[in-house]
Symmetry: C2
Subunit: 436 residues, 2 copies
């Protein structure tokens, strides 16, 4: 089947991430979408840089309008940002009958009502998973995953820059201005950080989520927007002493008289999972009347996390264009004739670290015997604790954490160690995962 | 437009939750789906109990086969469980050209390959969001939200009973058997808890997720299955001392030689967000090459959380049957002509609790003046801390947390308090959310 032809507008950070992910995972993505998805033309003012990124895999032009008018293009991906040129291009693409994928939260929060009306009229889709929460599939979860629910409220850490600053202020006791400079140095804050630290970016995002949760139009102008620039070290410390952490939350709530829509610094109980979302990570907590609380966590920005959402939208559109409607999404995510027959590995071949607990006689040389056996199997030890013997006992517990090893090696070592005369009973072995 | 007719097989806990959610949220659900979804017939052996639940809203029969053969039924919801009768009924429904929604993880982990092949042949959908993670839309996230990624691994706390037992063992220092009995008393463990505590249920779920992540057939028989029954209090305590928490994880990993597929108790660093998922809650952590780590958290069982997933699948099928393919999912989750025009509330009407920080003269009567003003506005105080004055200073900080109040009331109180002569400068006011 003929590939889906994509025209990419803007090949900056997210655009080049999108290009790279589509190339690197093309086989995997085709297996899921049912056909190939390829960026065939890229529009960017800096054509030389664009050409260097795409090589001869795509045509490069400086003229975005040419892409939007190109009859060969099925889907336009808008990654220009802002809301003047990008709005014109998106509306023109829609008028030309093209589907649009965009990461532009400002455009949608301000002009989404007009854009979606145009899309409806022209029979095309405008997909925008990348506009909120980077690669977290939060738009899809709200729009398709929680459809059974009357959503009561939603609260999100949706601006990584602010969350990084608040995390650092708390962890290092540093002042706002110092941490902001550090964030700029690390690339977590822009040269002009106003939209991030004043809550505007978070307000764009909560405006979009509120519309989806409650079935209301985009109403950015009604949102209360308050940033983190006035927070002091004192407040962060006092909050902590009281069992709270301060986060910049975007909040939307259903009330009998209407809806709350607001962004501001917020104390939340430290024991809450979302209070422990640190650094540039994002998380959105949703309360539905049937499902209760669910939370969605991940990287809220960055080239490839955002590209992950852009490409997911491309696959959604491709599945829609490709399959008969009753088979839009394959049962197991991959097309039925595209399943792999690679084997499930036996446990002996599985690699993890291990926690070991041994009960041993409290005498010299025991540890040397044990560590020798582990070394013979090529197993190295990350931590070892010998507990004090209980009163009146002659045996002690030894706890060990190993580095990564294969299960068959640890099991061979355990069998040999259990054979030592100084060992009492069986060794307890529990697998560890760093989940990094 | 004519409603979608659903036949429900089995009206136990999840079945009655599904019936209740569809009735309670019928208006909201129709606004999302584009047409009404109604359970028109219910099959259950206990017809008297079924009749008591559904009243005259649906017909009740003892004969599930009759429902599966009923030409009026568009979608069959299978909530019987097990894998003998349920398998027959699902295959018969598929053969009759009906779409199927099921929460049956055992059935899919063991017979999914056969069932999906039959569905493909007959041009119908088998939807199973409720089979893993209760109301968390994890199947949709993996299948549609992360399609850009080469999934590297997935690790999930997907059995609430086991997680409850491990949480209690750690928090209370209790033994496995005692906590199991408590879980049974609370309804968090079944009379025969084997499938939960021996890891079988978690293995069904990780088998399903692995198939979707990696594009492999269901291979339950190859999964390594190990439960929590051998864990001792000592191990939990020692792990904690070393900075780890023990969780029953279902793990699937891509390796060069094939795939790992396993369920076993696992030490994970306490600083990891997923290590802090406690009680009956579930969470699934997914590592994709583009998106990095994302996590999905929520109630993994229970009547309405599971119903939330069942109904989401019904809406998915309804949208597919209703709209032309290019409009399967409305942009803002609700049909475009179904948006609400209820207002966004002004901030003065928003209700939250507040953190207040005041700098006051360190003399008698100050606190009385302040609390009097708050009381006049009907604002009650949850906590109040007066800090020690810094050396050589005559002023002290007072920190207060209030109970819920409207913003216009707190602002009125603040204006009056700031007018007191003993107050220095402005009062710092930060909103609080309990996120309960």
């Amino acid at each position: 089947m003929k590939p889906i032809n994509v025209g990419l507008l803007g090949i900056g950070t997210v655009g080049s991430g999108t290009f790279r992910v589509l190339q690197r995972n093309s086989e995997e993505i085709s297996r899921r979408a049912g056909r190939a998805i390829r960026i065939s033309v890229v529009a960017d003012k800096d054509t030389a840089r664009a050409q260097a990124i795409v090589g001869d895999a795509a045509r490069v032009t400086a003229d975005a309008l040419e892409v939007v008018n190109d009859p060969q293009i099925d889907i336009v991906v808008e990654l220009i940002g802002g809301y003047t040129v990008s709005k014109e291009l998106v509306l023109k693409a829609i008028a030309n009958g093209k589907h649009v994928v965009t990461a532009n939260k400002a455009l949608l929060a301000l002009h989404g009502n007009e854009i979606f009306a145009a899309a409806l009229k022209n029979g095309v889709t405008v997909a925008f998973e990348a506009a909120v929460g980077g690669g977290i599939p939060i738009i899809k979860s709200l729009r398709e995953g929680l459809t059974a629910n009357r959503i009561e409220w939603i609260a999100g850490i949706v601006n990584g820059t602010s969350n990084f600053i608040l995390s650092e202020m708390r962890a290092k006791g540093a002042a706002f201005d110092d941490v902001l400079q550090e964030a700029q140095r690390l690339g977590f804050a822009e040269a002009d950080p106003t939209f991030d630290i004043e809550g505007v970016d978070a307000a764009h995002k909560i405006t979009i989520m509120a519309a989806i949760c409650f079935g209301i139009p985009m109403q950015f102008s009604k949102a209360h927007v308050e940033g983190i620039t006035k927070l002091t070290q004192d407040d962060i410390r006092y909050a902590e002493e009281l069992g709270y952490r301060i986060k910049l939350l975007g909040i939307a709530k259903r009330k009998s008289a209407g809806f709350e829509l607001r962004v501001h610094p917020t104390l939340i109980p430290t024991r809450q999972l979302i209070a422990n979302v640190e650094g540039v990570m994002n998380a959105v907590l949703v309360k539905g009347d049937a499902v209760g609380q669910t939370m969605y966590y991940g990287a809220g920005a960055g080239a490839e996390p955002t590209a992950s959402a852009v490409v997911a939208d491309l696959v959604d559109v491709a599945r829609m264009l490709t399959a008969d409607p009753e088979h839009r999404v394959p049962h197991l995510a991959f097309q039925a004739d595209q399943l792999s027959n690679a084997p499930i590995l036996p446990m002996g071949e599985v690699e993890t670290s291990y926690y070991l607990r041994l009960r041993v006689a409290d005498k010299a040389g025991v540890l040397a015997d044990i560590t020798r056996i582990l070394a013979d199997q090529g197993i190295s030890i990350e931590a070892l604790v010998q507990k004090e013997p209980h009163a009146g006992e002659e045996q002690v517990d030894i706890i060990m954490l190993t580095h990564l090893t294969r299960e068959k090696k640890i099991d061979a070592a355990i069998r040999r160690i259990e054979g030592l005369p100084v060992i009492s009973g069986k060794i307890t072995r529990i697998r560890m995962e760093a989940l990094q």
